[in-house]
């Protein structure tokens, strides 16, 4: 089992950037008023931020978040020696966005940089990768950038995807700090569920053709092209409410902790019914579980840090104990516990 602890690593700050353009699901007139009401109540998403036709990419949002974070934490650019970019909406097939960002951010050429291709579990996985490398190498400072512009893959005629996703990216500053309390991880994967959330065409298995762009009705209210994001809501729901509580319960056993041990349990913002089912199964009181679904929707690997910045930024100067859980596309899921104090969370950037 991929359960492990990493020593001497501390999160110092988190910043988030979202597009200015806001869409409201109350205006989503592809559905009837009754359907809209039901949808918003169930998935919990009222508003979303979308890049739409602005040309802004995940990389741009991540860059803005990183710059703000470096500034607010008084971090010298040359001190950043590792940059990890987690996204499934990179600028290019190749090269990796992390490397472009090394230059755009004005970081040193001595900085290592690489991408990780993960979605909803990406923040937890990304933290595990950067923390492990920094702990072993004793690299002093690193940046983890996570996010997606998932709205770009969703046609308005697909009610199973379109109203769910928002765009965002975040930056997290990580430092090597001798004696900082251990960060614990439990990471899992199940590729048998790879079709539950998938973009079928455009990769090497099924390269793009003219037909990849043809929007076809699959069932009532669900029309999409093969290059669009496809989501099997029921399957993802069953996976999440089964595997996430199981993983977290096992995590509690291995770390000898329980919901009382944590100040906040921040989950990937998938959908309200799903997240609330998980919360209740784990017996976390509602006041320990912040949400941003109503404001920003599902923002993939940005959702956990975005929720911390949006909902907890006025509380993070105190010492806090966090439990974070990411889960989704892959299927891939993981839990991390970490402690912070004097966490710097600048206001959310809009661009």
């Amino acid at each position: 089992m991929a359960f492990f602890s990493i020593e001497n690593i501390a999160i110092k700050g988190i910043a988030a950037a979202v597009p200015k353009q806001e869409l409201s699901n109350w205006d989503y007139d592809f559905l009837t008023e009754q359907e809209r009401k039901m949808l918003i109540k169930t998935i919990g998403v009222e508003k979303r931020r979308v890049v739409k036709d602005t040309g802004v990419t995940t990389l741009d949002l991540g860059k803005a978040a990183a710059e703000k974070l470096l500034q607010e934490t008084n971090t010298a650019k040359e001190d950043i020696q590792i940059l990890v970019f987690v996204s499934q909406t990179p600028d290019y097939y190749l090269p990796a966005s992390s490397i472009i960002l090394q230059d755009r951010l004005g970081l040193s050429k001595t900085c290592m940089a690489f991408d990780i291709n993960l979605g909803c579990s990406g923040y937890v996985y990304g933290l595990s990768a950067i923390s492990s490398l920094m702990s072993i190498s004793k690299i002093k400072k690193g940046l983890l950038i996570t996010g997606d512009i998932s709205s770009q893959g969703a046609p308005r005629e697909d009610k199973s995807v379109y109203p769910l996703f928002g765009d965002a990216a975040t930056a997290t500053l990580i430092e090597y700090e001798e004696g900082h309390e251990k960060t614990n991880f439990s990471l899992q994967s199940n590729g048998a569920g790879y079709e539950a959330i998938i973009v079928r065409e455009g990769g090497m298995r099924k390269p793009l053709t003219r037909e990849s762009f043809d929007i076809v009705e699959k069932e009532k209210g669900i029309s999409r092209a093969p290059r669009n994001l496809e989501l099997n809501g029921m399957e993802v729901f069953n996976f999440s409410v089964t595997e996430v509580p199981k993983n977290v319960d096992e995590f509690f056993n291995l770390t000898h902790t329980n919901p009382d041990s944590y100040d906040y349990f921040v989950m990937h913002q998938a959908n309200l019914l799903m997240n609330e089912t998980i919360r209740k199964k784990l017996k976390f009181p509602a006041e320990k579980v912040p949400y941003t679904l109503s404001k920003y929707g599902n923002t993939s690997s940005a959702s956990i840090p975005l929720t911390i910045v949006s909902e907890l930024r006025n509380k993070v100067s105190a010492p806090l104990s966090f439990l974070l859980a990411g889960f989704g596309v892959g299927l891939s899921w993981g839990t991390v516990s970490l402690k912070t104090s004097n966490l710097v969370c600048p206001e959310i950037i809009e661009m």
Binding site: E35, K41, T42, G233, F237, N238, T242, M274
Partner: protein, 79 residues
Amino acid sequence: MEIGEFIQKFEAEFEDIPKGTVKPSTKISDIEGWGSMHALIVVALADTEYGVTIKGEELKKVQSVQELFDLITRKKAEQ
């Protein structure tokens, strides 16, 4: 588990379904405004109240409330 109790729980999940209108013979697809969100809520109900996982394709085959109740009862017994 009694079907009456199940129907009460079923009706309690949906604000938009008038209480006391659902019968064992009610065809699920005939319930006014029934859609994918309702289906998701039924799956959540089965999970939280009965500890049973209903798959999408299983739910699609279910026609009446009685059949839904039978599916959950059968799955619960198999555990």
